[in-house]
Symmetry: C2
């Protein structure tokens, strides 16, 4: 496994200028390192490495919670940033036991019987807000939740078709037929495990932050390579794309107040008390004011994809549940994303209105069947936080990836890409420098990003070559 990772901090990702009233959450909460982090040993995000070594495959035993995992990925992440940056990342080898054995036996067992373990790889980006606490917790926790979820269903995953009963015992002779008719495949178990792991991690973050008297939340974008497939789970506005010589394919969608408008409005329709009489559920082209009263203006409600007109009433003048456009869109004037981890305590400034009921921690998962692709050395997945995609389109990133990696291959003095994993880190670095205007080849529009940006470049060639997970 090799992966290039790079990130940069510039300005914290701030909310909108304050509307009146109620005012949005207008500045990051002062950060105090949570108790559990202060007590813990080494954690990801501590090594300020100027250069980026290869991500050394690290074994993570099924029940050990911190050391072997952390010792590995502290080598690869956190270039040019402080320990307490709101962006956090994690990567490492996933190793899931195929049968129940004691924790102490793990190390020996893996050496003696490697076929008794399912192995895969894990990459994760967390873009925090309101302080780095949630992102740090997520980087420390999510892989453990995922490993636990996968360990609980591993017998189902190694079967050709998941059995109706995990024990393999057939209660009805036609059980396999029922499973087949529902179209349930091994990959559905991994999708379910990712969905459950995100939820579990969110609960852990809620408990830990409450215990530490801390606040904050983060987005989460995770890629897992397992049994010849790449799973991309996304909750938030980071993005992953597949880049090949002749193809650019989005592997995730963004979840923002705009993209999830109908779900959010629907919730406010069902539970109007969540808005405490301070916000209007309806969407208008702009915030309405006194002069609009009595006029027929464009609006849409939860059940509408289209637009209609309505007579403006006094209640329509309230601050909108979702306000602003594109990058500026905010939920309850406060938050730019609608899915992620944490934010259990987050309230609209100076009110008792909670945001958590409107947020989902469950990710959308897409599956890339690597065995079905004729993978080439230059085929990569680019994962990055929103700052990169604000400045560069998928197509622009793809062009940069191609010209960078193909020029490498054409150079007779360079070794093969697979023998030079540093090239992927250099590529990640180049992408970030481009968004900062540091390269000779800036973006066409000369746009520059002032956001934190983190990037993973994952070469698929080595994942697809014989790493079928057994």
């Amino acid at each position: 496994m090799s992966a290039g990772w790079f990130r940069r901090r510039f300005l914290p990702r701030g909310p909108l200028p304050a509307p009146q009233p109620p005012r949005p959450h207008s500045s990051p909460v002062p950060y105090r390192r949570p108790r559990f982090l202060r007590d813990a040993g080494s954690c990801p995000g501590t090594a300020d490495a100027p250069s980026l070594p290869e991500a050394r495959p690290v074994r993570c035993p099924a029940r050990s919670r911190t050391l072997p995992w952390n010792a590995g990925y502290a080598e690869v992440i956190n270039a040019e940033k402080s320990e307490f940056n709101e962006d956090q990342a994690a990567c490492g080898k996933l190793c899931i036991q195929r049968c129940e054995i004691g924790a102490e036996e793990d190390q020996e067992w893996l050496t003696l019987c490697p076929e008794e373990f399912l192995t895969g790889h894990y990459w994760a980006l967390f873009d925090g807000h309101g302080g780095p606490a949630a992102a740090i917790l997520a980087a420390n926790t999510l892989h453990s939740c995922l490993r636990r979820q996968l360990a609980a269903i591993v017998e189902g995953m190694v079967a050709t078709q998941p059995p109706m009963h995990l024990s393999g015992h057939c209660v009805c002779a036609s059980d396999p037929q029922f499973v087949k008719e529902k179209g349930i495949k091994t990959e559905d178990l991994v999708i379910g495990a990712l969905e459950n792991a995100f939820q579990e991690c969110d609960e852990v973050i809620g408990r830990e932050l409450e215990a530490a008297g801390q606040v904050g939340g983060c987005t989460a974008l995770v890629a897992v390579s397992l049994q010849g497939k790449l799973y991309v789970a996304n909750a938030g506005d980071s993005r992953a794309i597949l880049v090949r010589r002749d193809e650019v394919r989005p592997l995730s969608s963004e979840f923002t107040p705009e993209t999830e408008r109908q779900r959010i409005q629907q919730l406010a329709f069902v539970y109007p008390e969540l808005l405490a009489g301070e916000f209007t559920r309806l969407e208008f082209p702009r915030r309405l004011k006194g002069d609009d009263l009595g006029q027929k203006v464009l609006f849409r409600d939860h059940h509408m994809n289209g637009w209609s007109y309505k007579y403006v009433e006094k209640s329509d003048l309230k601050y909108p549940l979702i306000h602003g456009q594109g990058r500026q869109a905010r939920l309850l004037g406060t938050l730019a994303v609608s899915r992620g981890l944490g934010d259990h305590q987050l309230r609209v400034l100076d009110t008792n209105i909670h945001l958590k009921p409107f947020l989902l921690s469950v990710p959308q998962v897409t599956v890339l069947d690597m065995d079905q692709l004729e993978l080439q050395e230059e085929d990569v997945v680019v994962m990055a936080t929103d700052g990169l995609w604000d400045v560069l389109s998928n197509e622009q990133v793809a062009q940069m990836v191609r010209s960078f990696l193909l020029s490498t291959q054409e150079d007779p003095h360079r070794v093969h890409l697979q023998d030079d994993p540093h090239r992927f880190s250099e590529l990640a670095q180049m992408l970030i420098h481009t968004t900062q205007g540091k390269n000779d080849d800036p973006t066409e529009e000369g746009q520059v990003s002032y956001d934190d940006i983190s990037v993973f470049v994952i070469p698929l060639y080595s994942q697809g070559q014989g790493s079928n997970g057994h």
Copy 2:
């Protein structure tokens, strides 16, 4: 305008065999003609025409509710069926006033100033259940609701960009910019009008059925040609596809308990009282029984796209909220669709559990920009109720359409398709006969449908040629 329409009745569309307990709704409710229908004049669905004449363009004045509209489409629909069949259809010309004038002036005004009206065409299929009452009401009502909704926003529709204020009066100088940034286009107003019209029609049906002591519901698939665009609005499991020489494109998606599983489970999660302790929200590969107790079995809940395993508890043995596969899938053991009109009184047999809270009347609307297509004479939209699609795939229908229409064109003795609109009715008839095994060219698998089937074949050529709606 010309359109071929054909339908057939065989067996009523029945629910699943009864599970124990609670038992599903096991037979259609005995039908009594609602009071309002008995009192009304001629209504669609009364002419048992053995052959299918061309759909003559009919003007429908903005405020006249029944006669001019009905007089027109009674000519085209209802071949080979009784007045009280559960399938109903409607089609006709839509005519929307561009300015406020008195109802009495309509006729004269249209003759004198045709440019003061927006004109379009309307086709609708309604597939009823629990009796024909809802489908008949929908066929009588929905076009009026739509015309009313469109009339209310017509000033916005004829502008290049919908104005923020329908009056055209600008409260802020930057209002047009706000509308532009939101990407609000004329077609969004028509989508909104369709969404609102379905909701309004559903309310009318609820009131009318209650007043008449009747029950029942129906799916609704509507196509509207207006200002160079074809809008397809679907609530239920009918389907519309575009067929061209080199292309087959679905113009709708089906809404069934399976396709809307997460929305339905989510509602039961938020409002568990809707299940009255009689159903389980969770999905399993089959209904569980005593032998499964304590075992770890495959399941999924509202937040999951993937699958996981859980230990079976006693409450999991209840009848599932959504049960069965594909064509057999039922909501609360009763209903095969999750969107449509009516069903306000529908309850699970022998219980007080209502289905209506789980049903949506709002359609999904897709837009086909006919001005962007280089339309050919043989380009058509095929709209049909589910019975056709149970037996024929989109591709199979497309092949039949092509070979039927192209063979017509190659015959030197035939007139041009646009001069022979009967060909489209013949094509609709041929499609239905194929599903009955009456043709020499049956389906590949020799499948036969025993469901009611209704089909519209809409030639797009005449729609696209100069019918820009003004």
